[in-house]
């Protein structure tokens, strides 16, 4: 029982990374922008968040306050990620560059940039302390047994991620803004004719989506692995899985919540099943990628009208070309 609970708790924690990454990507894709830069943007969020933590902890190392530490570093993470996302936005929306190519360039840049910032500008001395503070959860969860452990033992960012996903679903599905956003992604020319400011929606979607994805990278370092740092490549791999998760969850942020937990469960399986030896462990680490491929194949075979990507996904809109 303890084993299963620990497994679920670990999965939910890692799922937050996937969830934030995929919700960010869904928002940009709903505006018709296929953002392959998300892995790089998640890295940039990491760099920003870690820099925020570093600055805050250096100023208030004696008595760091949970609220301010979280807010301060969160703002840094979002701003950095959105800024790198804006590079992608500017190149694709204003300069009409190919979205796939620009996205890949952003990923290359983001990974290099993050490693560069982490090596040259960020002092990791206080990371473990900061991580403990950021992770801190409600004090009474232990008294509630397994229920408390699964649902209440997480840091605030996990709940924030779920709230963001639900909010994104609500905005996209139920509000006028969401309707406009979907219109832009489906057929920008028609949306334009209907008086919707296409570029404004695209820019906002890219900025907000990138900011959300950036929190995912920051969460990975500061919550999931508890403040240690190896390299940006790990986050890049998680970023690609988040992009794949978008297809798995058929462009619905609410399904992302469950999808990301399933994904994370598969991802952590290799590390949970101990005592199987090198070879099996290494083989199990391939599982999430194999599953992703299976999911891609199944969704493409089953493919009905309801689970198609936004119609103009990946296409740039230039008004004078109509």
């Amino acid at each position: 029982m303890d084993y299963v609970v620990a497994f679920i708790v670990g999965s939910i924690s890692l799922a937050t990374v996937f969830l934030l990454g995929s919700v960010g990507e869904i928002i940009t894709e709903k505006a018709g922008q296929l953002n392959l830069g998300i892995p790089g943007i998640m890295c940039a969020g990491t760099a920003g968040g870690c820099m925020g933590v570093d600055i805050y902890m250096r100023m208030f190392s004696a008595n760091p306050m949970w609220v301010f530490l979280v807010l301060f570093s969160l703002i840094f993470a979002v701003v950095f990620a959105a800024a790198v996302g804006m590079i992608y936005g500017f190149l694709t929306i204003s300069l009409h560059c190919n979205q796939n190519i620009t996205g890949l360039a952003v990923t290359t840049f983001g990974v290099g940039f993050t490693q560069f910032v982490m090596d040259n500008f960020v002092d990791r001395a206080h990371f473990f302390d900061a991580s403990d503070i950021i992770k801190s959860s409600l004090p009474f969860w232990e008294s509630l047994g397994w229920f408390g452990e699964i649902f209440l033992s997480h840091g605030v960012l996990v709940y924030l991620a779920i709230a963001i996903a639900i909010a994104a679903w609500w905005v996209i599905k139920k509000t006028k803004v969401g309707l406009h956003l979907r219109a832009v992604g489906e057929n920008p020319a028609t949306a334009d004719a209907a008086g919707i400011n296409v570029n404004k929606y695209k820019y906002l979607a890219v900025a907000i989506g990138s900011g959300i994805a950036g929190i995912g990278g920051y969460f990975y370092i500061m919550d999931y692995i508890g403040g240690s740092w190896e390299n940006a490549m790990t986050i890049e791999a998680l970023g690609w899985l988040s992009v794949a998760l978008v297809i798995f969850t058929i462009w619905r942020p609410n399904l992302s919540i469950i999808g990301s937990i399933v994904f994370a469960g598969l991802y952590t399986l290799a590390y949970r099943l101990t005592g199987t030896g090198f070879v099996i462990t290494n083989l199990l680490k391939l599982l999430p990628y194999v599953i992703t491929i299976l999911v891609l194949i199944i969704t493409s075979i089953v493919g009905s009208k309801n689970i198609q990507p936004p119609a103009s996904l990946g296409l740039n809109y230039f008004r004078e070309e109509r």
Binding site: C97, L104, A105, G112, F116, L286, L296
Partner: protein
């Protein structure tokens, strides 16, 4: 009148229109200034971050890293040749609008197959046969890794971008698995098997790679420009419907093209494992698959320009490695960082080649007056016409 003045105020600062064509000189000027601009920005950032360095030294190091010593010049040509090979591999698929992001994995699986042959058969069969088997195994592995996503794309329209990406990670993971099978110590490092290395050609370890790259480049030039295959795949890329109407077997074209792509990646795997490194590790593809996508795109899939873009990117990569050591940076992240800058600048500058920016004329106020006048004139004309009609 009020309406007119409002219109004048709201007229945008500039508007963008499509260019018909642009003189070659201007093209070169735009590209060159983008590249130099990117490097200038990079040099300034590196100078600010590093304590010992200045922008001039940045450019000196950049050249020093490529042509500083004879060995570095050879090194440049070897890496240039490898990148050119991978670029040739990704081009046919891209021309078909098949987003093959899996060249990394295709190379790596080629390396793995080559190493597997070396490891299991090395010593038990004559070396000439071993080399042949190494080559065949690499190419076959590369082909298999490229054809799997192609089949699913051809039959089910499975998203090939993510499929090939995931295959990269699987290839990388398989390398780790196989090393953990082969190396019982658990160190995770397979010692180079130099005794089975492909022999040097013309007394140099670099010339074979360069020769292969030249051969493949010439082959691909004719394949893409002169062969029926090249023509067919560009039709599929332009419009699948057109391809269907002229009776092409689209599925076969997709699979066939990816066989070519995978085979070239397999050859790169053979060169890397069989000739250059004599072992395998999961970093061996050195991210060339991604870099090749950029060089192919920046080179507009044109064989000649792609030689230029590959040379440029190799130059910057090697040069930045020298900058890194002379500026005292901790690791090679700065290389990707600067490459990213260069990509942004070149991708961005294409806008100025494809589109024209028409600035708002300063005389917008006069313009409205003119407009008013013209309206008045029109009214006068109408009045005159109606008078004439009355007559």
């Amino acid at each position: 009148m009020k309406n007119n003045s409002n219109v004048a105020v709201r007229e945008p600062l500039f508007h963008v229109s499509k260019r018909k064509e642009i003189a070659l000189v201007w093209k070169i000027v735009i590209y060159a200034s983008a590249i130099i601009g990117a490097l200038l920005v990079a040099s300034i950032i590196c100078t600010i971050v590093s304590e010992d360095g200045n922008p001039l030294w940045f450019f000196v190091s950049l050249f020093n890293g490529n042509i500083g010593t004879e060995r570095r010049i050879w090194q440049f040509f070897k890496e240039f040749a490898l990148l050119l090979l991978v670029t040739q591999a990704v081009v046919p698929a891209f021309k078909m609008k098949f987003w093959n992001l899996g060249a990394n994995g295709q190379i790596l699986i080629g390396c793995l197959a080559c190493t597997a042959v070396m490891f299991t058969l090395g010593g038990s069969i004559p070396n000439a046969l071993l080399y042949a088997l190494m080559f065949i195994a690499s190419v076959l592995a590369g082909v298999v890794w490229a054809v799997i996503p192609a089949v699913f794309r051809a039959f089910f329209k499975t998203n090939e971008t993510l499929f090939t990406l995931m295959l990269n990670y699987i290839a990388s993971g398989l390398v780790v698995v196989m090393i953990s099978v082969w190396v019982s110590t658990g160190s995770g490092v397979l010692e180079p098997m130099e005794q089975y290395s492909f022999p040097d050609v013309f007394g140099s370890e670099y010339i074979f790679t360069i020769l292969i790259a030249a051969l493949v480049t010439v082959f691909m030039f004719f394949y893409m420009k002169k062969s029926k295959h090249g023509f067919e795949l560009s039709i599929v890329g332009e419009s699948e419907n057109t391809a269907r109407y002229v009776g092409l077997n689209i599925r076969w074209v997709i699979i066939r093209t990816l066989i070519v792509s995978g085979a070239i990646c397999g050859i790169v795997g053979f060169l890397l494992s069989g000739d250059i490194n004599n072992t395998v590790n999961n970093e061996m593809a050195n991210n060339m698959g991604f870099t090749a996508i950029m060089t192919a795109w920046l080179g507009k899939f044109d064989p000649i320009i792609m030689i230029g873009t590959c040379a440029l990117i190799t130059f910057v990569t090697n040069g930045m490695n020298e900058v890194r050591s002379s500026f005292g940076f901790y690791n090679n992240s700065v290389v990707n960082f600067v490459l990213g800058f260069i990509y942004f600048f070149i991708i961005g500058c294409e806008f100025f080649i494809r589109y024209k920016i028409n600035l708002r004329k300063k005389k917008s106020a006069e313009f409205t007056v003119l407009n008013d006048n013209s309206i008045e004139l029109e009214e006068k004309n109408k009045a005159q016409i109606s008078k004439e009609e009355d007559k």
